[in-house]
Structure formats: C-alpha cells, structure tokens
C-alpha cells in the first residue's frame, strides 16, 4: 500500500471514527462509512491540509470513496 493510501486511511479512521478494516478502497464515505455531507466536506479539508494541496469543489464532488481520494491525491503528487 502506498504511503498516500496509508495517510488517507488514517485521516478517514480518525475523522469518522470507523474501524480501520472497513476503510477499504471501495468504501463509500456516505453509504459505507456513515459520513454525512458535512463530514465529506471536512474530509476534503483534512486531505488538503495533510497533503498541502488545493482540492477545488468540482473535484471534491468526484471523491466519493476511499479509493477515489487515494487516486486523486496520487495523481496530484505525481
């Protein structure tokens, strides 16, 4: 697992207070991890901070699963 994926999962676990086992690539923040829409905004803010990147609103809307976040941030870092 990449370093980026580890950091993303750590943020998700901490922020949503979910079991680490549940934080798999296909996990949808809202449907699988119990996030509400405000949580998803906050997750994006946390990713922005952790990775020092700017995630515009239209991109943020496409980040629905853990895997979406990891691949978005991997692309940014590449």
């Amino acid at each position: 697992m990449s370093d980026i994926a580890d950091r993303v999962k750590k943020i998700v676990v901490e922020h949503l207070g979910v079991e680490p086992e549940k934080v798999i690539d296909s996990a949808n923040f809202i449907d699988d991890l119990g996030a509400d829409s405000l949580d998803t905004v906050e997750l994006v803010m946390a990713f922005e901070e952790e990775f020092s990147v700017e995630i515009p609103d239209d991109a943020a809307e496409t980040i629905r699963t853990v895997g979406d976040a990891v691949s978005f941030l991997e692309k940014k870092a590449a």
Binding site: L38, V41, E42, M45
Partner: protein, 245 residues
Amino acid sequence: MFNLTGKSALVTGATGGIGGAVAKALHAQGAQVAISGTRREALEALATELGNRVHIVPANLSDRDSVEALIPAAEAALGQVDILVNNAGVTRDNLFMRMKDEEWETVLRVNLEAAFRLSRAVIKGMMKRRWGRIVSVTSVIGTTGNAGQANYAASKAGLIGMSKSLAQEVASRNITVNCIAPGFIATPMTDVLNEKQREGILTKVPMARLGTPEDIAAAAVYLASDEAAYLTGQTLHINGGMTMI
C-alpha cells in the same frame, strides 16, 4: 460569564451607531476586534478610542471584490475569525410601484449578499476549530414588513432564513448562527425621522422610548459567548415590546 478573552471578532458596519456599540461591547469583554466600514476616518477614531486589541479592515460591501477581500484581511489581522457580526445595512426606501432596480439591488447586495459571502468565507475555519459564532443584525421589519421598505424587509427576512439554514448545517460543529432583530434604535439611521414620525412610532412601543445601540450590543455579547452555546437558528427581538413574536 460572557468572557470573550482570546476570541477574535469581525464587526461590519462598525462606523455606525449599532456596529460601533457592538464592537465596543465585544472588546470590553476581552475580544480582539476587527472593525469594518467604508469610512476610514471613522474607523480610525473608533480604533483610537478602543486602544489595543483592535484592527481596521475597511471594505465596501456593495462591491463584490471588496467583500471577498474582507475575510482574508480580517484573518491576516486577527489570526482567525471566531465571531462574525454581519451588521452593516442600508435603506433605500420607496413605494413598491416606484422602486428602482438599483434601489432593490443595492439593499439586497449590502444587507443580504454580503452576509452570505462573509459567512461562507469564515465557516471553513470555524469548522476546523469546532467553534464559531455568526450573528446577523436583521430588523423587526423583516418579520412585520413595512410600507415603503419592500427591499429592506426582503433583505432582513432573507437574513433570518439564511441563518436558520446555515445553523442546521453547522450545529454539530459547535457553530451557532443567530440574528438580532432591533426595533427602533436611536442611531444615524433613525435620526432622519421627524418628530411626528418619532411620536407615531413611540405610541406603538410599550417601553415608550427608542432603544439604544447598547441594548443591541448586549445581545451580541451574549450570542457571541460560550454561555449561548445551545442557542442557534434563533432571532432575538429587541424592540421595547413593539412586536411580540
């Protein structure tokens, strides 16, 4: 109670009667304040009066770019904005049938749209810090309506609806969003009333006097405080009993 030491507040319309009193009252409770308005000399005079813990952040709220620049300027001066008081307001009274587009637009832009933009800009930081207070100064007219003030009433009713919606979105993050609805307060805005109008108004006010800016400032201090943590989406009507809602 109501200690605001360590908190940072931005007050718009601080050059006016109510905004000046609000800025002074928040400052007296220990807050650091950023004061905004279009008239720089008036801001400087207030800053001199307050002494320390005060910053000047001029802005013209009828200009979109100036609105967008205000929160970054306030954050640069204060470090962060914990308390936002949307107080700036204008009137452009006219009978509905004669109301010009420009009169409608100016009032909506300054009274409502600026409050939307400023609130949107501060909310992110408040969410991160899990604490925030947004207080908007609306008016009894937003609830009752008033002949000749369709634009003003729409803007003030709009503030109430906006605040209730935002309050629901951010309540779980310990951010409260409330309004204060003054009745008739003695300020430059009401100085334009003639003696007859004033007497007419007072017959409808059980307290039989105009309110003072300090009557409003006290509510702002309360709403900004930790003690008001469980109060959100509400409007405090401070009007001497003129309308009881």
